[in-house]
């Protein structure tokens, strides 16, 4: 060792002492509180943005309502399944964008060298980046998902547990697929457009019943753009537990999580920073 003793580090910090997880959770909680406080700084805009998203989603529900009044079954899907599809998709997206709102911005943050602040602080970089932003409109998506579930979902204990699991899988797939597409920027430069298109493709396909896709389309939805693992949840988990599908969905989610984390930290070695003036908002 060439310099002063490491033991002298962190004199007023509890770093290295027991309770690391509790302190990490307190940090996450504080970040979320600040995000919400920041969003509420502009009260009217906050309420309008979240409210507009609920209305936006309701338009789609009305559309599907009209459709099912005319054709009660669509390739085995009923109105209730489509409502659950919207609850799981909008809910998963909503939780991601509300609590991990920087996920869709990773490509931009990397390409414009805005990770410096996160890298200079002692918290897991990916977690810190993800939780440092909140999309206000996405709060509307979460509320919408809960409203749809309250109206159409199975309110038994088993039903609620299954819905919670579906939400967890959907959220994780959204987060880590978005992280992976954002990480392309470490290797390919400014991939903001490409990453956004990939994210948009996932988001779009999660809101259509998997039953309407066949052949290559279906293959894509269960491989390259894993939207099928979200959009089939109303049938394969909520309506009736389809064990092979559920195991597949869990395995894909775990793979995406591990792959996303691995890719992000490998990419950090190639991170080139930048001279863009940046502020945290």
């Amino acid at each position: 060792m060439l310099t002063a003793d490491k033991g002298r580090l962190a004199s007023i910090s509890e770093y290295g002492r027991p309770g690391q997880l509790r302190r990490l959770l307190l940090f996450v909680w504080q970040c979320w509180k600040l995000n919400l406080a920041g969003a509420m700084e502009f009260r009217l805009s906050f309420l309008l943005t979240a409210g507009m998203m609920v209305i936006n989603n309701v338009v789609w529900i009305v559309f599907w309502g009209l459709y099912f009044r005319r054709f009660p079954v669509l390739n085995g899907w009923e109105l209730r399944d489509v409502m659950m599809l919207w609850a799981v998709a909008a809910g998963g997206f909503g939780v991601m964008a509300t609590l991990f709102g920087n996920a869709p911005r990773i490509a931009n943050l990397v390409a414009t060298g805005q990770l410096d602040v996160y890298l200079s602080q002692p918290k897991p970089v990916l977690l810190h980046v993800l939780i440092s932003r909140m999309s206000v409109s996405a709060i509307g998506d979460v509320l919408f998902a809960l409203m749809i579930y309250a109206a159409f979902g199975d309110k038994s204990v088993a039903g609620i547990v299954k819905f919670a699991l579906a939400m967890a899988l959907s959220t994780l797939i959204f987060i880590f697929f978005t992280v992976i597409s954002g990480c392309l920027a470490f290797w390919l430069g400014n991939t903001e457009g490409l990453s956004f298109q990939l994210f948009n493709a996932l988001l779009t396909f999660t809101t259509y019943p998997t039953g309407i896709f066949r052949g290559l389309g279906k293959l894509v939805l269960f491989t390259v753009i894993p939207a099928g693992f979200i959009s089939y949840l109303p049938i394969g988990l909520l309506r009736q537990v389809d064990v092979p599908f559920l195991l597949g969905a869990v395995a894909v989610t775990v793979l995406l999580c591990l792959g996303g984390v691995r890719l992000f930290y490998s990419g950090l070695r190639r991170y080139a920073s930048g001279n863009m003036i940046s502020l945290r908002r």
């Binding site: 962190a10 770093y15 970040c31």
Partner: protein, 332 residues
């Protein structure tokens, strides 16, 4: 004991070269042309605990890249560094508990929230004991005089107020080394002076090692004992600030008030900086002539009412150093 040790540290980036115009863009799309750009050549230095170091150089010299490698933000392409016993890019998390950083152009304050909220978050990020945090926070609020705008959203603060909050936020966890990357950029003279005083006090009272990059001569003169000048990715000067003045002080300024208006001044090694009536400012190249010789030749021709001999400001020493001491040194 050293706080920072840097051994042959280097960083190069692979950048895409593009010819001008749309045709150039098309060509770059089909057959991109890359070049390796050396941001930091191979630099070595040591910083002792409690030292105040100015890390200087013109734009693009490699100052910020060096700071980013020493704080673990960037991975080097060559060499080794140790800060407080940690290799920054391998032990980034551990190291960040012992260092603080202020990047003049990258804020760690939350834009829409008051500074007090960011301080609270910093206490969670650095896992500070509640009592210690509150004590330290109050101490910094008092010392940096943050009280009046502690509860005002950052977006509504002036640049000077924001920068004081930035520095206070970076000091909450009592770092042993403070990296400051152009902390006084864009600030007015009074605020700059106050920030320098605060950093100086901190260094004196807490023994914090200060590693500062700046283009401001005042920051260097009033804050730092030692200077390292880097240009084209290489160290071209590493010594005490006083010595930097002496080594690069090849000119002095003589300001004269004469009894009568002077004729043309033509002396070897002397050039006229300013002439207005009986007032005359001359620059004397001390490598070609001495102050005494220049003055005696003027006195032989004119009667002098008043005379002052000045060193040129630090600003012009830095300009002079940036001007020539780069590629020449790199080539040797």
């Amino acid at each position: 004991m050293a706080s920072i040790v840097v051994q042959q540290l280097g960083k190069s980036f692979r950048t895409k070269k593009k010819r001008e115009g749309f045709a150039g863009s098309l060509k770059a799309l089909v057959r991109p042309d890359y070049e390796d750009k050396t941001a930091v050549g191979s630099i070595s230095f040591k910083v002792e605990q409690g030292e105040t170091l100015a890390f200087l150089g013109p734009n693009g010299a490699g100052k910020s890249t060096t700071i980013k490698m020493l704080t673990g933000i960037l991975h080097p392409t060559a060499g080794y560094a140790e800060v407080l016993g940690c290799c920054p890019w391998k032990e980034r998390t551990k190291l960040s508990y012992g260092i603080g950083s202020v990047f003049g152009q990258k804020s760690q304050l939350w834009y829409h929230l008051p500074p007090i909220d960011t301080f609270e978050l910093m206490s969670r990020i650095y896992e500070l004991r509640r009592g210690d945090y509150l004590q330290r926070r109050d101490q910094l609020i008092e010392r940096f005089e943050l009280g009046p705008y502690l509860h005002t959203a950052v977006r509504k603060l002036s640049l000077g107020e924001r920068m004081r909050c930035e520095i206070a936020a970076a000091l909450l966890h009592r770092p042993q080394v403070l990296f400051l990357d152009e902390p006084t950029i864009g600030l007015d003279v009074v605020v700059k002076q106050r920030i320098r005083e605060l950093i100086r006090e901190l260094n004196r009272e807490e023994g914090t090692t200060i590693f500062l990059t700046s283009h401001d001569a005042g920051d260097i003169e009033r804050l730092c004992e030692r200077a390292i000048v880097i240009n084209y990715g290489r160290i071209v000067f590493d010594d005490r600030v006083e010595l930097m003045k002496r080594r690069f002080l090849t000119h002095k300024t003589i300001r004269l008030v004469l009894e009568e208006e002077p004729e043309r001044v033509e002396l070897a090694g002397v050039s006229v900086l300013e002439q207005s009536g009986v007032r005359l400012a001359l620059s004397v190249d001390t490598e070609l002539t001495t102050i005494e010789a220049a003055l005696s030749r003027i006195m032989a021709r004119h009667r002098i009412v008043d005379v002052t001999v000045e060193d040129p400001p630090m600003e012009s020493i830095i300009t002079h150093m940036y001007g020539y001491s780069g590629k020449e040194e790199l080539a040797t």
